[in-house]
Amino acid sequence: MNGPRRLLVRDAGLLSSVQDLGRLGLGALGVSPSGAADWFSARAANRLVGNADGCALIETTMNGATFEAADPMTIAVTGADAPLWIGGKRKHSWRSLSVEAGDRIAIGPPASGLRSYLAVAGGIDISEVLGSAATDVGGGFGGRRLAAGDSLFVRAASSEAFSESEYEPGAILALRPPVRLRALTGPDASRIGSTVIDELFATAFRGSARSSRQGLRLEGSAVTGGASDSISAGVCAGCVQLPGDGSPIVLLAEHQTTGGYPIALCVITADIPLAAQVRPGDEVRFERADRTGARDALNAAASRLRAVRAVASAVTYDPDAARLGRGFAEGASS
């Protein structure tokens, strides 16, 4: 091949950025993990094109985005329920697709959900900062938001003979609102009091337009009371902070490392992808979970992720083969 293959950004939409599974392990320096807000869709997109889970890919937001393949490549789009066009033809998401040189890859405005993931076989080739390709959009490092005219290099794919693959409809995220986020009570729940916690579980919230990769802000029905701020402590994605104004914030991938608002609930790991897909105005409810339920839900998500299957009669395609059956826990740097 002559030189590396390239993917061009034609319209970055509201916010598009390069992400992976984040730069975990640097919380003590105040460095946010960042990474894909919806870990399920990001991993699924990478698996569809034969990549390791932690390969760099593109996350788009809200109103879609348009890219152009400067060279032939295999891609997959997952995440929000958004229309997809390749070279002007309508295509399926949650499925690997061959793209010819010059083809436009257009992700349209989603019918439901907020963020789409575009993975390319081989992965986006971008220099890592502190061990990760993730863009810390708010923190201002590890790259920046993508803009029209940007040209991204694509690494050589590990296998040229990759067969077409897809997820069956039952395996993908169900994003139509009302969104139900299963949650455990948080470390400050007893200080906040069971009345307020019960109210949180009984309230129909709405996603706020002030949400970001840092956190999903909920509004529409403020919870009364709450508790005074805590001594600042470490936080993680899924933590539901309850500020004094009674409007909860569900922390997402790009959360700050520490926070002082009391943590009322914690969305279970399996449902963080759903929280990342809430759009402004979507109805959101918290549903009480327990430890076993959280574990079962995560195991179920992991098996849905493994259920990538060959399309049509592709030969000897084994979803549990080493390449795709890699540890779920695999971090950004494989």
């Binding site: 640097l26 919380g27 003590a28 600042s232 993680c236 899924g238 933590c239 969305v267 779920f328």
Partner: protein, 232 residues
């Protein structure tokens, strides 16, 4: 041996609490606990985040059982020492106070009923200690602000605080490593780089460091940082 209270934070993290106030004694237990957890954790923990009075420990729930994570933390707490950090590094940071370098300096002095020079000297007098880094990459939460200098945070945060700003809020003191929104009172500014992602050790400061502020005699001086290794 440290007394700890371990609370689950969802299905993938634990809060390990060692106290319920912000002071030197509690935070030095945090430093010692965080080190012990790092030693004991092996590969079990994906992140260890110390703060004023607790350590957050993250784990991958598909690989590590909560009970095992808790047992590892409990074991670490048993082996952690009460005291630590006898050989702290000393870092001198040169700051230019007031005017456009610290837009709240003059009003803060006025509110405290102090002359500006006296306020500056009172602020620079104590040894500060880095409790932990948080909020922004490399942002140090410093302990040691004299209670006589405590001021409430701004009612409305500023959309843009310049990089290097030294701010105070109640008894807290910190330095903004980069431009960001912020509600702390801004007294002055340093040009010292507090966080540089391209360096092997990206953060200038680490928990336990002793920080001294020195008023700048010239603008060039504000980029000066002096680090004395405590082991020396």
């Amino acid at each position: 041996m440290l007394e700890v209270d371990i609370k689950p934070v969802g299905d993938a993290a634990l809060h390990v609490v060692v106290g319920d106030r912000i002071d030197r004694e509690v935070v030095s237990r945090v430093w010692s606990l965080a080190r012990a957890i790092e030693r004991a954790g092996g590969g079990a923990f994906s992140d260890i985040v110390p703060a004023y009075a607790s350590v957050l420990v993250r784990y991958d729930p598909l690989r590590v059982d909560q009970a095992i994570a808790m047992a590892l933390v409990r074991g670490a707490a048993e082996n952690a020492s009460e005291s630590s950090n006898a050989n702290a590094r000393k870092v001198t940071i040169v700051v230019r106070f007031g005017g456009e370098w610290g837009v709240d300096f003059e009003t803060a002095a006025h509110e405290l009923g102090m002359r500006e020079a006296r306020f500056r000297d009172a602020f620079c007098k104590p040894d500060y200690r880095v409790a932990f880094l948080g909020f922004l990459a490399g942002f140090p939460y410093l302990l040691g602000l004299p209670p006589a200098l405590a001021l409430p945070r701004l009612a409305t945060p500023r959309p843009r605080v310049p990089a290097g700003s030294v701010g105070v809020a109640a008894l807290q003191c910190g330095i903004y490593p980069r431009q960001s929104p912020g509600g702390w009172r801004l007294l002055g500014r340093t040009l010292a780089p507090l966080f540089d992602a391209s360096l092997p050790a990206p953060a200038l400061l680490a928990p336990g460091d002793v920080v001294r502020f020195e008023p700048a005699s010239s603008i060039e001086e504000t980029a000066r940082v002096e680090i004395t290794d405590g082991a020396a």
